[in-house]
């Protein structure tokens, strides 16, 4: 019995020791890996003079859902082409849309950042710390070795990100201009119901849109008792309601991108402009009339899309432009509920309405969303390899490869016109496109082209192309100074404005708009609003920003 006890106890102890040693194993392996890489770097330095990619390299990358993109690398020809071209292998580190911010911050805190990682960090407190503490590597000041990348980065809002003349991230460009931000907040509404309720003309003013919602709700065409306007996500509401009288207040929801305007000779965040109150009153009036979904504050996941597609909402405010109109509404829901119904005959997308000053504004965010960062620990050689990869991905050749597939197999070219050969979705054939299409940029602009099959339904694509053409011709970009959004001052670095939270508070408050808004402003003042305005104005003056 004693021997058995002894044996069991010894085994237990051994197990614990193995577990402890095992826990430490990963780190050691990584450290060894680094050493091996640096040794290899030295040895193969000679070779690299002849062929810049002679030395094989492993890049660890954390991009959303990368693991599924690299699930079939052995049979993925595009993965093979790109990794062979740059002599790299890719080590995927999974992040999801729910956990990416937490994971990356934890990796940064524990010194385990991958070589490349994606996050929307610009303007946040941790972004400034990463930059000042060398956690992320700066891009070389001379980018002439990477001509396509240099051209890609050469826009005002990206150049405005420079800290002491250096860029510390490659923004994932989404749109060719701010006008395209109108696609980030679109309202799809039931045009068939509107016609049934006696509406004959597409709404152009806020009053007409309210009248449409009211008429349809009263008519209740399918007996579903629909709510008025619902949303894909409650964070989107600012992108619509501010357009009534305070368009520069539109924000991407990060809390850090609030824009500055000059009012009464002083720069202030646009959210706190005099124009805010009219927009809030308009929103509150619509809510009082019952035109806004009473559960808008509780919407989670895809509930908003479910409501709209199942006929329980007259209109939906959603992100993702016509891509989502197609994917989340038509493809995933509408086609199942109304199989015989022509989607674009029944649904229209609301064109930006006339503001109180008679102009039509579109929401403004940035031309990019999220950025690629590079660990501060990587060698110059590795950085060069990464930038070469990015240079390729934003080049014409690279874009054609990742958007249309392999030439003559998946697409052909007649002059500059692309002719699609492969009719099946390219993602099925080349899963790695999920990575390569989004590693350097989102490039959603090209989706609004009749030759681009990304919006698979031709009617939706046509509506999208017409919509953005109309927006380009008929809307005005709100005025603001992007340099102040990126400006760093002690108070501003810690200051965030979550305007969607404030709008929701006003919307649902039992108090009057003025009272509720005053209370919100007071809470911002308690967080240092006045001090921040003072600091920003002082610094703007020093920099000669008028």
């Amino acid at each position: 019995m004693g021997k058995i006890k002894g044996l069991v106890s010894s085994l237990l102890l051994l197990f614990i020791l193995v577990a402890i040693v095992g826990c430490g194993g990963n780190k050691r392996a990584t450290e060894d890996g680094h050493e091996q890489t640096s040794n290899l770097n030295e040895k193969e330095g000679e070779k690299s003079k002849e062929n810049p990619f002679a030395e094989a390299m492993e890049l660890s990358i954390a991009v959303w859902d990368i693991e599924s993109s690299l699930s079939d690398t052995e049979n993925d020809e595009i993965y093979k082409m790109i990794t062979e071209k740059f002599n790299i292998s890719i080590k995927p580190l999974g992040i999801t849309w729910d956990d990416y911010a937490q994971k990356i911050q934890m990796w940064a805190a524990s010194n385990q950042l991958p070589d490349i990682f994606s996050i929307d960090a610009v303007g946040s407190q941790y972004y400034r710390k990463w930059v000042t503490q060398g956690i992320v590597k700066a891009l070389p000041e001379d980018l002439s070795k990477y001509p396509y990348l240099k051209e890609y980065l050469n826009t005002d809002d990206i150049m405005g990100l420079k800290e002491n003349g250096k860029l510390f991230a490659i923004p994932r460009k989404t749109w060719e201009s701010l006008k395209y931000n109108s696609l980030d907040r679109v309202i799809a509404y039931r045009w068939d119901w509107a016609k049934a309720a006696g509406i004959e003309k597409e709404p152009e003013t806020w009053e007409e849109f309210s009248a449409l919602l009211k008429a349809v709700m009263e008519k209740n065409p399918e007996g579903t008792q629909p709510v008025g306007l619902t949303a894909g996500n409650v964070k989107l509401i600012g992108g619509f309601f501010w357009l009534y009288s305070n368009p520069a207040a539109t924000s991407d929801g990060s809390g850090n991108d609030f824009k500055w305007i000059k009012e009464d000779g002083k720069f202030i965040p646009a959210v706190f402009s005099k124009g805010a109150l009219s927009a809030l009153n308009n929103m509150k009036d619509m809510n009082k009339q019952g035109l806004i979904d009473p559960d808008i504050g509780l919407i989670k996941g895809d509930q908003g899309y479910d409501k709209f597609a199942s006929g329980k909402a007259v209109a939906i405010l959603h992100a993702g432009g016509f891509l989502n109109s197609y994917k989340k509404i038509l493809k995933e829901r509408w086609s199942k509920i109304y199989p015989d119904n022509q989607f674009m005959d029944s649904v229209k997308v609301l064109k930006p309405l006339k503001s109180v000053d008679g102009k039509r504004y579109h929401p403004v965010f940035k031309t990019y969303w999220s950025e690629s960062y590079f660990s501060g620990k990587i060698s110059e050689q590795k950085m060069d390899r990464i930038l070469s990869l990015y240079d390729f991905l934003v080049s014409k050749e690279g874009r054609e490869l990742v958007w249309y597939g392999i030439k003559d197999a998946d697409y052909g070219k007649s002059g500059e016109t692309i002719e699609i050969i492969e009719t099946e979705p390219l993602y099925d054939k080349y899963p790695s496109l999920g990575l390569f299409q989004t590693l350097a940029e989102w490039n959603l602009t090209d989706n609004y082209d009749m030759n681009n099959p990304a919006i698979a339904d031709p009617d939706v694509r046509k509506a999208g192309v017409e919509y953005i053409d109309w927006v380009k011709q008929n809307t005005v970009t709100p005025e603001f100074d992007i340099r102040l959004t990126y400006m760093s001052t002690p108070t501003k670095d810690k200051f965030t404005v979550f305007d969607h939270d404030d709008l929701l508070n006003v919307l649902l408050s039992k108090k009057s708009t003025e009272e509720a808004w005053e209370q919100i402003i007071e809470s911002y003042k308690a967080k240092g609003l006045d001090k921040m305005i003072e600091e920003v104005n002082l610094k703007a003056k020093e920099l000669g920003i008028e």
Partner: protein
């Protein structure tokens, strides 16, 4: 057949040194070792991270190398309206949860204990315990559906001609939802320990009381309750010690709240999460916030233990 041999010492165990005693009980100590290691690795070693509350976190220097800034994080904390609101909400929600929820499992267990039909008792017990096993993510979906505009609550209200309610977006009603859903989820599970205590009551006491003419209520008040009072006292101390954790109820509140009810719903845990990962505040500041919560928890535990002992019940230390 072999039998184990007890080690024989030259001197008696009573007189032997500590090392001798440890050697004598070596197998027991070996069995204890995993627990000690577990506590050391996962509970005591990370405690050095508390120092971050007095530092400004530097990514390059790590926790140990980051520069000391004294009590700056705590000074920032008391000036932060977000923290003040979260702190106040945590205390209110924690206290009310304890006050409202604590008696419920006791009453439920006594009621279940009074049931004579065993099968029915098991059915009820299962029904009451089941919600404990559903995560708050799923539970919140159910609750939101129940309380939405088209949910069952508003349908019932409309049948009686009342106005629709939206308690999840109404500050004055939100905490009620928190308390009731907490009871719904936990009361069955929390009653198990009382049911175990009730099973230990000597049936002769109850029989004797019946012979003396005691009714059901009298038996509950004079036999059942006194017999489980000690258990209730221990659980009360433990619950008070964890009050701010239970009250913060991160999973519950995080899945149910929204910005329109932050003023009444934002607790220390949700505040830490939001400001760390959404706003990106300094880890040192957030550690300071967490430390304040832990210190208050400890003080509450000591106070509760002291009070219970003063009232004549057995404490936990």
């Amino acid at each position: 057949m072999k039998t184990s041999r007890i080690p024989v010492f030259k001197t008696s165990l009573k007189d032997s040194s500590i090392a001798g005693k440890i050697f004598f009980y070596r197998y027991f100590y070996l069995m204890l070792l995993p627990v000690v290691i577990w506590y050391f690795v996962f509970s005591y070693t990370p405690m050095y991270g508390i120092t971050l509350a007095f530092k400004s976190f530097n990514y390059n220097e790590g926790i140990i190398g980051s520069p000391w800034i004294g009590f700056q994080n705590f000074l920032d904390m008391v000036k932060d309206p977000g923290f003040i609101s979260a702190f106040k909400n945590t205390l209110i929600i924690s206290f009310c949860k304890l006050l409202i929820h604590f008696p419920v499992p006791i009453i439920l267990s006594i009621l279940l204990n009074e049931m004579t039909r065993r099968r029915l008792k098991k059915v009820y017990q299962t029904i009451f315990t089941f919600p404990h096993f559903i995560s708050w993510v799923v539970m919140s979906g159910i609750i939101i559906s129940i309380l939405s505009k088209d949910g069952i609550v508003n349908q019932i209200i409309s049948v009686f001609g009342g106005d629709a309610v939206s308690p999840l977006v109404t500050s004055s009603q939100f905490r009620t939802v928190i308390y009731t859903t907490h009871i719904w989820k936990q009361m069955g599970w929390d009653s198990i320990i009382y049911l175990a205590a009730l099973a230990n009551i000597n049936p002769e006491l109850l029989e004797a009381a019946s012979i003396d003419g005691a009714g059901r209520f009298q038996k509950i008040m004079h036999i059942t309750w006194p017999c489980i009072r000690g258990t209730a006292a221990i659980l009360l101390i433990l619950q008070i010690g964890l009050m701010l954790n239970i009250g913060s109820g991160f999973d519950q509140i995080f899945n149910l709240y929204n910005s329109s009810v932050y003023d009444v719903a934002d607790t220390i845990d949700t505040f830490i999460f939001r400001t760390t990962f959404t706003i990106g505040s300094d880890f040192g500041y957030m550690t300071a916030v967490g430390l304040v919560k832990s210190v208050i928890n400890l003080l509450l535990l000591i106070t509760a233990n002291y009070t219970v002992r003063k009232l004549g019940e057995q404490g936990i230390f």
